[in-house]
């Protein structure tokens, strides 16, 4: 009895503030903030003092100065343009790589990932040799191999390889045929807009319908059909030709017409696609293997063909597992494009490095580089998260 009352008394006694959890939480956070501020502040002041003494402190005003260095390729740029313009050229060059690269790497990864699961022993082994050898060597070494040991060893421009198309391949450039919108292309544009609007409306209506009857009404299929139908109608009604295919040809020591890829861009693109493709293949394989065998056996028992099993049973379930790691592979591809500097492709990092060497503005240049890559990463993850949410919802 006395024991219990003493416990009760103990509970009533006010907790000293140094043992009060709420006080402790607030205090520890304040201490943490003070520590962080002291550390970062010291570093910042050191940096400011050092840079000020060399006259390199200050805002982004230096970006208006004349750059005066050459950039190999990209949007219109001149030696007398400003640093800001040079940086923009680099940023656009950086964007070109992941936009093309992600599409190609996805295709390569999908094909290899499925080949890795093939029942054909040879196909399976070829895929696994490719995946293992690519995944276990550094990307930078691969870029050097592609640039110096493959592309630079291609025949000279006079003896270009010619593939049907025609596609010209030499150590100076790759030239591909490219459709260019002609003057009558404008007549087709209203049809395209109309097709988009109709397809969108159908999508909304079918989605509402799906919610009502609770069954998938093939809205994607209907949307695509409507779009293609209206676009084709416009194609027949507008004056021809809508596109002129610009065919490259060898004139002297240069290619004319078509679209011309520099060896630097080609090396970077091929390197990144082959590298990321191997990683995507593993993601795809893991995703497909995550679908339990029972699902496939049940689908077989229902009499679905192998193609239908893949499309209706395996893929919808596998996509749930695939999308998140696939997103991080896309992000890796975009981030790895910063290795362009190894082959001399003038991307954002490369151009910013030159700007830093010329101006010495370390802080501003690093803020610009990091800001740009962060926004690319955030934008990509945003898009993929939207897609991911859709895939996850379909499952439920």
């Amino acid at each position: 009895m006395t024991k219990m009352s003493s416990i009760a008394a103990g509970a009533q006694r006010p907790v000293p503030f140094w043992r009060n959890v709420r006080v402790l939480r607030v205090l520890s956070q304040i201490v943490f903030i003070i520590l962080v501020v002291i550390i970062l502040g010291t570093l910042f002041l050191n940096m400011k003092r050092g840079l000020e003494s060399r006259g390199l402190w200050g805002g982004f005003g230096f970006l208006k100065l004349e750059a005066g260095f050459d950039i190999g390729e990209g949007i219109a740029y001149d030696l007398s343009d400003s640093y800001a313009r040079a940086f923009l050229v680099g940023a656009v060059n950086t964007l070109r790589v992941p936009i093309v690269g992600i599409a190609l790497a996805t295709v390569l990864g999908l094909v290899t990932g499925i080949a890795r699961l093939s029942s054909n022993w040879l196909v399976n082994k070829i895929a696994s040799v490719y995946i293992e050898s690519i995944r276990n060597t550094p990307l930078l070494v691969q870029l050097y191999v592609w640039y110096f040991a493959v592309i630079m060893k291609l025949p000279r421009i006079k003896e270009s390889l010619v593939l049907p198309g025609p596609v010209f391949i030499s150590n100076r450039a790759v030239a591909l045929p490219w459709p260019v919108p002609s003057t009558s292309f404008r007549a087709w544009v209203p049809y395209l807009i109309a097709a988009l609007v109709v397809a969108g409306t159908i999508g909304v209506i079918r989605a509402r319908e799906q919610r009502r009857i609770g069954r998938p009404p093939f809205s994607g299929l209907w949307m695509v059909l409507a779009f293609i139908g209206i676009a084709a109608l416009g194609w027949f009604l507008s004056p021809k030709p809508l596109f002129i295919v610009s065919v490259p040809s060898l004139k002297g020591l240069n290619y004319q017409g078509g679209v011309i890829l520099t060896p630097e861009f080609t090396a970077l693109l091929v390197g990144l696609v082959v590298y990321t493709g191997a990683f995507i293949a593993e993601v795809v394989r893991a995703g497909i293997q995550s679908v339990s065998r029972g699902q496939i056996e049940a689908a077989r028992a229902l009499g679905l063909s192998e193609g239908l099993i893949l499309r209706l049973v395996v893929l919808p379930q596998a996509l749930r597992v695939i999308i998140p790691p696939l997103t991080s592979q896309y992000l890796n591809l975009a981030k790895n494009s910063s290795l362009a500097i190894a082959v001399g492709y003038p991307d954002l990092f490369n151009v910013a490095g030159t700007i830093f060497n010329q101006t010495g503005r370390a802080v501003q240049v690093i803020v610009l580089i990091m800001g740009s890559y962060l926004s690319i990463s955030l934008f990509t993850s945003l898009l993929m998260n939207i897609y991911n949410r859709r895939v996850q919802l379909v499952e439920r």
Binding site: M47, W121, N136, L339
Partner: protein, 369 residues
């Protein structure tokens, strides 16, 4: 009756794995053509055209870079120490510990012998772990040398290079980034909002930018951050860059491990009267870290490959040595041979490590619970 000859033996295997349908047959022939073309091109080049003397002449350069040749015994000493420790670890964890399980458990006196054996083994393991821990300062001391010593004259880090530098960078960075990563992971799960937000900002910022920008920043900004007169050499700057970068990724792996610890474990620890820190140190972290060993080995492998990026900021690692070898006047233009060789070195080590990590994963039985 025997099964038909087409369903057993070599023929059966061929039919099942290569020619099971017309489509598979087609794939088989296409693959054969691809293999023939690639292998033939590769073999003809490697055996008849390639001038491998560029590799054999420069082998020492590839391995240790410009490290003074008279001091090469120091690297051998480190290597022998690591191999010895590796062998001992294999013995006490692998080879010798498997012996008891083969014995009959029913007979009493041998069982007692095994108990004693187990005690000896446990003691031996403690010594081996101590050996590993001590091997770090010993290796660094051997490589760096002592000022004013005649047996171990100092060797500046600007003379470290080749595969040696690659390994030094990777090992030191992973060892340093591990505690930082664990702290960040705990910070991200902390109930204190300030700590949590700080950790999230750090992790997401680092994961959103390419490694090469972090390295670039470490090379340029680190000297600026420090008070004037304090100089940090390039290798340490690179290690700092790798450490800050890898810590963010390790934090995410560890966070996964922490999330995998059953909430009942926390409650049980609380019921036993353990404090928050005690719960973390004795209950949660041991379980969480066990599950994250495979991803951290994976992180080490990718760090090993990523050390090649220091070639961009001008350190003499394996890849940069390759670049300098390619520029040697007597071996002008032998880029294929050199880069191919470098790729093979990276491949051998990464493949061996990922193979070992898969073994480790099975041994730990991570995926099986």
């Amino acid at each position: 009756m025997r099964p038909p000859s087409t369903s057993i033996g070599v023929l059966g295997w061929l039919k099942e794995n290569l020619f099971s349908s017309w489509f598979n047959t087609l794939l088989t022939f296409v693959s054969l053509v691809v293999i023939y073309v690639v292998l033939r091109g590769l073999l003809v080049w490697a055996l008849t055209q390639a001038r491998w003397e560029v590799v054999t002449t420069n082998l020492t350069l590839f391995m240790i870079g410009p490290y003074p040749r008279q001091q090469i015994w120091r690297i051998w000493a480190c290597l022998i120490m690591v191999i010895l420790l590796g062998g001992l670890s294999w013995l006490v964890w692998g080879g010798l510990s498997r012996v008891p399980s083969a014995e009959e458990p029913s007979s009493v006196s041998p069982a007692r012998g095994w108990v004693r054996w187990g005690r000896i083994l446990r003691k031996a393991r403690r010594w081996v772990i101590l050996g590993w821990v001590l091997s770090f300062p010993i290796t660094l001391l051997l490589l760096q040398g002592l000022k004013g010593s005649s047996i171990l004259p100092p060797v500046g880090t600007n003379l470290w290079g080749g595969l040696l530098l690659t390994f030094v960078l990777a090992v030191i960075s992973i060892v340093l980034s591990f505690p930082l990563g664990v702290l960040l992971a705990l910070g991200r799960r902390s109930s204190l909002p300030v700590v949590r937000i700080f950790s999230i900002l750090y992790i997401e910022l680092i994961r959103g930018v390419p490694l090469v920008t972090v390295l670039f920043m470490a090379q340029i900004m680190l000297p600026l951050f420090l008070p004037e007169g304090v100089r940090v050499d390039k290798v340490i700057r690179a290690i700092a860059g790798f450490t800050f970068f890898t810590a963010a990724y390790i934090a995410e792996s560890v966070r996964g491990g922490l999330a995998a610890v059953h909430p009942g474990q926390y409650e049980a620890a609380k019921a036993l009267g353990l404090s928050g820190i005690q719960t973390m140190v004795f209950i949660v972290l041991p379980q969480a870290l066990r599950t994250v060993i495979p991803p951290i080995v994976g992180q080490f492998i990718s760090l090993f490959k990523d050390t090649s990026l220091v070639a961009i900021v001008g350190l003499l690692d394996l890849l940069n040595i390759a670049k300098s070898v390619v520029a040697q006047p007597e071996f002008m233009g032998l880029k294929r041979e050199v880069y191919f060789f470098v790729a093979i070195i990276y491949f051998v080590f990464s493949y061996a490590m990922s193979h070992a990590s898969r073994k480790l994963e099975t041994a730990l039985g991570v995926g099986e619970r």
